[in-house]
């Protein structure tokens, strides 16, 4: 009789799911035959080695695998805690999902291709009928025109179905690229409604709108939101025979609420939960005039959700329906979050990922770690050059920083070493210390932040940076009031808030005694004390020698003994009249 142990062993040996056990340091302790097959490595090559692939205990990760026949496939990894020989260990399950991925792709391609193939004949149908209808081929009587119109209308319906299909397949595949911009929601809603006004009036329905006069700014892809409005109003029109259609746009705290209410046939309680699902059409719609693609609301919901909004419906049979959706208000926060999350999510797909753990930052470094990481990222991105690379930093609250660098050949030892070298150099430049690094270990430490946390911390960091920068003190020194006034205006337009101006160079040092400015913008040719003398005295004094200086001069300046500062870029020169863009860049550089 087989013991429990034998049975379990048989299960593990014969399972077609790869199973890998690793210790807390991610060193592989055991790999079953299926794992060896999927990872295309023998047991000896795995046990004792660090587990190279990204995996975490929260969500499955996707990796590239090389199949036995040499082709690249796709694997899915998931992880959980177990106990191994009495100590804590990690169990990784590996599935070969190459076939599923291929099928998915085939399905998407199919929908895409078919949709396009359908379009050409549809155009031919519509266009040929339209030309006869328009009298191009000879006179047509009213009755003939009416019948031709039937053909055109239905060709249009077919066309809409094809467009919707294409749309939804793109949205589901995540291939929709939203072009978000600051937009006036009121204008979009009004336009969406205007398109349907003639039809609504023709049907004898009343239209009531409550759209505030002022600009209601949102950060959206205008065409897509227009599409949502069209969809909702179109539905309201379709399902309402008498009464009215009301559109309301209101300002709630932090977001806008748009609702479209009709007095139509309504939706039954049992159909209500499925309203936004795909291909849903309801009992009442056996009547051909109610039929549509069943995709419109599903698309509308996807679009609204992609904009971080919500959509819902309230309805009673024969009493009408109210569809409403929300959109967050425009703010620089929203824009920044969107930009960050798009970039981070794009590179969050761990294909061929190299993860590098930078260990044991001391306290000072830890406090400045967001800055270190951002700077390092710039350097790394600049240097990696021909690699396919995207970097995503993960800032943890432990002593480590983990960088995920996506390279196509993360599995090649040579490439890995080169990337490591680049990262080491980048950090060396910034922290002046050779940081200890190891690579290939899991990128998700057990208690690490999720992508959302990362976005929040990057965002917070960048916002604080901006606020800090614009609060810095700038001192303008020029004997001509016109110049200081003009420069002050320019700087204020750029966002800087604390600007002082002195028109007598001799007053500079008294002023500085009270508060040391973060930047001095200095004219050279001044009575009393020239710009040179000012700089000279500033540089002699320990407390003031590091203040960055921007020389604003009307003529070529002979910098002579200050050339050292010029080459270190601690002093820059800008020629009057100051080009606003150049001024902006120089000030930004200096502070």
């Amino acid at each position: 009789m087989d013991s429990d142990h034998d049975i379990l062993q048989a299960i593990v040996e014969k399972s077609d799911i790869g199973l890998v056990v690793m210790d807390e340091k991610r060193i592989i302790q055991f790999a079953n035959p299926a794992a060896q097959t999927i990872l295309n490595r023998k047991s000896e090559q795995l046990v004792g080695q660090p587990f190279e692939y990204p995996v975490n205990d929260r969500e499955p990760s996707i990796i590239d695998i090389i199949q036995r026949n040499g082709r690249t496939g796709t694997g899915q990894l998931s992880m959980s805690d177990i106990s191994w020989n009495g100590t804590k260990a990690l169990l990784v399950s590996i599935r070969d999902i190459t076939e599923q991925v291929m099928l998915d792709r085939l399905k998407d391609d199919f929908i895409h291709n078919v949709s396009h193939e359908l379009r050409t004949p549809l155009t031919a149908i519509r266009e040929s009928v339209a030309q006869v209808h328009d009298g191009i081929l000879g006179d047509v009587n009213e009755e003939q025109k009416a019948y031709l119109s039937i053909c055109m209308r239905n060709a249009d319906r077919l066309r809409k179905i094809v467009d919707d299909l294409l749309d939804i397949s793109k949205i589901e595949a995540g291939k929709i690229e939203l072009k978000k911009k600051q937009t006036d929601l009121g204008e979009v809603v009004q336009s969406g409604l205007d398109l349907y006004k003639p039809l609504i009036q023709k049907k004898g329905l009343e239209i009531h709108t409550q759209i505030p006069e002022r600009e209601l700014n949102v950060y959206v892809d205008r065409d897509r939101i227009y599409q949502v409005i069209n969809n909702l109003v179109g539905n309201a029109l379709k399902f309402t025979e008498k009464g009215s259609i009301d559109i309301e746009l209101s300002d709630k705290d932090g977001h806008f609420l748009c609702s479209v209410r009709d007095t139509g046939i309504g939706i039954s309680g049992e159909d209500l939960p499925r309203v936004f699902d795909k291909f849903q059409q309801f009992a009442e719609s056996t009547d051909p005039k109610y039929r549509g693609t069943g995709l419109g609301l599903s698309i509308a919901r996807q679009i609204v959700q992609l904009h971080e909004g919500d959509i819902q419906v309230d309805s009673k049979p024969n009493e009408g329906s109210t569809f409403s959706f929300t959109l967050p208000k425009y703010s620089s926060t929203i824009v920044l979050r969107d930009v960050l999350s798009t970039r981070i999510k794009k590179s969050a797909d761990p294909f061929g990922l190299l993860s590098i753990r930078i260990k044991n930052l001391d306290t000072i470094q830890r406090e400045t770690s967001p800055r270190i990481v951002t700077d390092a990222l710039y350097q790394i991105n600049e240097t990696l050059g021909s690699f396919d690379r995207r970097t995503v930093p993960m800032i943890t609250d432990r002593e480590d920083i983990i960088l995920r660098i996506e390279t196509n050949e993360a599995q090649q030892e040579k490439r890995r070493r080169k990337v490591m070298r680049v990262v080491k150099e980048a950090f060396l430049k910034i922290t002046d210390t050779e940081l200890e690094m190891e690579y290939g270990t899991s990128i998700y430490p057990e208690n690490g932040p999720a992508v959302d946390d990362l976005i929040s911390s990057c965002h917070e960091f960048m916002v604080n940076e901006t606020v800090q920068r614009f609060s810095k003190n700038i001192l303008l020194v020029d004997d001509e009031t016109a110049i200081t006034d003009a420069t002050r205006e320019l700087l204020e337009l750029l966002g800087y808030k604390n600007i002082q101006a002195l028109n007598d160079s001799r007053a500079v040092f008294d002023h500085i005694r009270n508060s040391i400015p973060d930047l001095i913008i200095l004219d050279m040719k001044m009575p009393g004390m020239t710009g040179f003398e000012v700089i000279g005295r500033l540089k002699e004094n320990f407390e003031t020698q590091d203040i960055p200086i921007l020389i604003m001069s009307g003529y070529e300046v002979e910098v002579g003994r200050f050339h050292e500062y010029i080459s270190k870029k601690a002093i820059l020169t800008i020629y009057k009249p100051a080009d606003p863009d150049l001024l902006r860049k120089m000030v930004y550089y200096l502070i």
């Binding site: 155009t123 031919a124 266009e127 040929s128 191009i136």
Partner: protein, 125 residues
């Protein structure tokens, strides 16, 4: 009266665009593949060429290249028709010197306005 050369391998589309253009006072020359398109462009000297980007034998873009090589045809503006609008294809076409781009299926209004726009700018030059 403007002379337009239409090159498309779909005979229905060819005929429909032709009748639309004629109804708008334009003279029409037709070609159903790239070689024919190049030959007719050379012999007929149209004011504008409307060409499907994806055609058998040679393909719209390479036909365009050929047209650029002959003095007699290099100045004729070309509007490409495509069934699969995508930024890369557009970019490439514009870089090669295409006058404009239109995606299938199109509204005749759009087609007409694009043609007129290109013809006008030709005229100004």
């Amino acid at each position: 009266m403007a002379k337009i050369l239409i090159a498309d391998d779909d005979p229905d589309i060819l005929m429909l665009i032709a009748s639309r253009l004629r109804a708008n006072n334009m003279q029409v020359v037709m070609a159903s593949d790239c070689n024919q398109a190049i030959k007719k462009a050379y012999s007929e000297q149209p004011n504008l060429i409307l060409m499907d980007i994806r055609m058998p034998k040679v393909g719209g873009l390479s036909a365009f290249n050929s047209l650029k090589m002959y003095a007699r045809t290099e100045m004729i503006p070309v509007i490409f028709i495509t069934a699969y609008p995508g930024k890369e294809v557009e970019e490439e076409a514009f870089q090669m010197g295409a006058a404009d781009f239109i995606a299938k299926p199109f509204e005749t209004d759009t087609l007409l306005s694009k043609i007129n726009k290109v013809l006008e700018s030709q005229y100004m030059n």
